[in-house]
Homo-oligomer: 347 residues x 3
């Protein structure tokens, strides 16, 4: 595909500028800037990566609106494109070259589908899939092999269920969701009441609801509660190996990175971001846009927009100061001893 | 179901008191107190949740033996029940309304069962289950679809194996256990010996044993050891995404919350509690009733009944003091500098 | 098997010494030293475990080259063998007794194998396995039941894929690898670009490559990147429930213990060791032989051979000092207050 064609599709308002530059290489694929070869299109996100413009073998670059970077590309005679969000432009360019694997509509004869199942149009159901009673499957849903769907679950239109995932009883998954391999949605919450004999089970009679556009990573589990619903808002993205406990209420466009863990009854506002291995205690609340940096342990309340770090969590600025001073504790103690000696407080 | 009927079943000794109150609403289901609607039964665990009594739409409440809370319910004209353990009473009331999904006995024709398998009475074996040689399955065991059982495993009576879990060679699972979706029981321990060339495998010839009444969460893995057994005692409850390394010896009624990790050879006494994301190093020992709070990293020995927190773990009281003082480190350092100046120790 | 036979096979240069001792018990199996019974062979790794020599019921011991330990074994009349690496000798002795379960070659009739699949010699393909288009399977590969392989994946000779794992599109797995139950190889990286509406997906058009001799634990996920490759070097060993993000470059003979998490674009040199629950931030680099102790959180660069600990990571020596002093913070503060009073700086 000609570079000019790509520009036309991903940043059309830049077409005339690119045409003026009179460099229009044939682009055969996309690559990271430091690994690119001739014929590929790459991107540079900001000045931090300027050095790669000097050495990249890419034939064309997506650049930010930064005249120094653009001058560097000019000097090397590379085709380039100015984008307000180079990463987004790169993502859109990848989509021109890459067609994700998706099995065609059809139902594999080895799938075991309960006769009460309501199937939408053009669904794709892979080999060895099992669908229990009273399940509803929307149009163009794609269910990869060996998925198991428990009774009364609902799967919205165009949603993709990857291999070996398990959708539990009564779970409701919206449209345009992606559930990755091995994930468990609507599994039984961890509910036990201590008794003299040990632990008595509290049945988890609720269900898990994912709104439209939610993604759930490999081997992640989103439990259902004793009563009511565990809820994940529209467009939220959850990475691999995350644990979402029973009764959590997750807002829209929330992001959870790998191995995040939420105990029960956590409430997260819109656009909360939880970095890798963050843990949230029972009943934690985080307001809209709040952020927990990686490995942070949070309990109680975090206000909207606040950034917290550490275990237990501090305001991020306090955490940075504290982290910098930690290693000076021995020196601090020594200074103190010296003063105490001088003042005759200790020998 | 009439409220008086529920009381009769879950707290019969309260029946006469409830009858005297002469309020007997029809209860159609259970709900959390802040989400309840008319016709539901809810519970309040203690004074902390008193405010919900003012506003709940529930028709009846399970309350603790707390006269202030009971008076508040009276004032609103709600039916209520006094329980020593309101959460336990709530759990028992849920069980009156909720029948967990369980497939009926029978063997799906697509299951692949080795002819040497010993099958108990009234087992339920789902579609696409695979059972290898010399496996023993107890009475009324329920195996959900796509489970794989390796050779020589034993599954005790009434145990439930959820979708896509894998029971490995020689594993022995007791009666009344629940293994949730995607869990791996008796998988190969992580045993490698460093050599000049890299890492040489130490075969894991042992097995994993779960006693009766053990629950294992989604995608949790409980490895088997090189020799001997990994052991989980009666009635222990393990949440999602937990890692139990080879050779661990877990006592009775132990609780591990989500994403806990145990390295090899850990020993836990009865009723130990590990909160979310706790990590235990190789050969850690924790005595009966010891507790590690969330995200704690433990090595060495923790005495019976002790509570530990932090990384590396401190006694919980020390941890609380240290956590409170962390953010004062910058101020502390500044004070010290000031003193040093005054004493002429530094400029 | 006679003890002398075992010695002949695992440490032949010790045979004459053992013969001279004239103690040659029949050995029926292997055991841990503190659990051993008569007729078993066990090992003692070093002086720390000397006490077990006094009490073990094992009939023979593998000992380090430590004359005190050897004298203790002599005194009890035990057969023993001196090994430079007792643990390695023990591993090799286990291999004499233990034959891991491996299904014989053959293809189960319930497996669904795309006609374009290239199958090597003597492969074993279990029940309900699904193999999509254009997959290549090497000689003697063993695929356990319910595994799903997406299109264009390659599996090298003698590699073992355990139950319920998912090998995603284009993944390339070398020879002599072991992928444990429920693992996901080459799954879609977590790539989203923030937009005003929420998060836009960046397609993950790359692939995951595992070189020869790699092991991947249960329910671990190794994602593929947007462009290029996620790479795991020869002989690296990855434990259960590990998350390897898109685009990581892992060197040879790297070890990752349970629940380690790598964000995107991490680079690890040869023989890096990551202990349990370690987390590495985006773009972290660790040089050859560097070590992160358990629960450490690393970002930036760690030099070859360095040991780091804590969150955020410090040099291990600094971490030990800091950890020891943490609990003295209250005392430190008190001393400071006393000094300030004495100097008239505070009341």
């Amino acid at each position: 595909m000609k570079f000019s064609n790509i520009v036309q599709k991903i940043e059309p308002e830049q077409s005339s500028l690119v045409a003026a530059a009179d460099r229009d290489p044939e682009i055969s694929g996309m690559a990271a800037v430091q690994e690119a070869s001739a014929g590929t299109l790459s991107y540079v996100e900001g000045a931090k990566f300027a050095k790669y413009i000097e050495t990249t073998a890419a034939s064309a670059l997506i650049l930010p609106t930064d005249s120094a970077l653009q001058a560097a590309a000019e000097q090397r005679g590379l085709a380039w494109l100015s984008a307000r969000d180079p990463r987004l432009a790169f993502a859109r360019a990848i989509a021109l070259f890459y067609q994700p694997f998706q099995p065609p509509p059809g139902i594999h004869p080895s799938a075991v589908i309960h006769p009460t199942t309501q199937l939408g149009q053009q669904v794709s159901i892979g080999a060895h899939v099992v669908i229990q009673a009273d399940v509803r499957i929307g149009d163009r849903v794609c269910i990869h092999p060996n998925v198991v769907i428990y009774p009364e679950a609902q799967i919205g239109a165009r949603t993709i269920l990857h291999a070996n995932c398990a959708i539990h009883e009564r779970a409701q998954i919206g449209a345009d969701c992606v559930i990755h391999s091995g994930a468990a949605i609507g599994s039984e919450g961890f509910g036990f009441v201590p008794t003299a004999e040990g632990w008595e089970k509290m049945h988890q009679s609720g269900r898990t609801v994912l709104e439209d556009g939610v993604e759930v990573g490999c081997n992640t589990a989103i439990d259902r509660p004793a009563v009511g619903e565990t809820w994940v808002g529209r467009n939220s993205k959850i990475d691999n190996l995350v644990h979402v406990g029973h009764g959590c209420q997750i807002g829209e466009a929330v992001v959870m990175a790998g191995q995040v863990g939420l105990a029960g009854g956590v409430t997260l506002g819109r656009r909360v971001i939880l970095a890798g291995q963050v843990g949230l205690a029972n009943q934690t609340e985080m307001g809209e846009g709040a952020i927990a940096t990686s490995k942070t342990g949070v309990h109680g309340r975090v206000a909207a927009g606040e950034i917290v770090s550490g275990m237990p969590a501090l305001a991020h600025q306090d955490y940075l100061k504290y982290s910098a001073l930690r290693r000076r504790l021995p020196e601090l103690l020594q200074s103190l001893r010296q003063i105490q000696k001088q003042l005759g407080l200790k020998k």
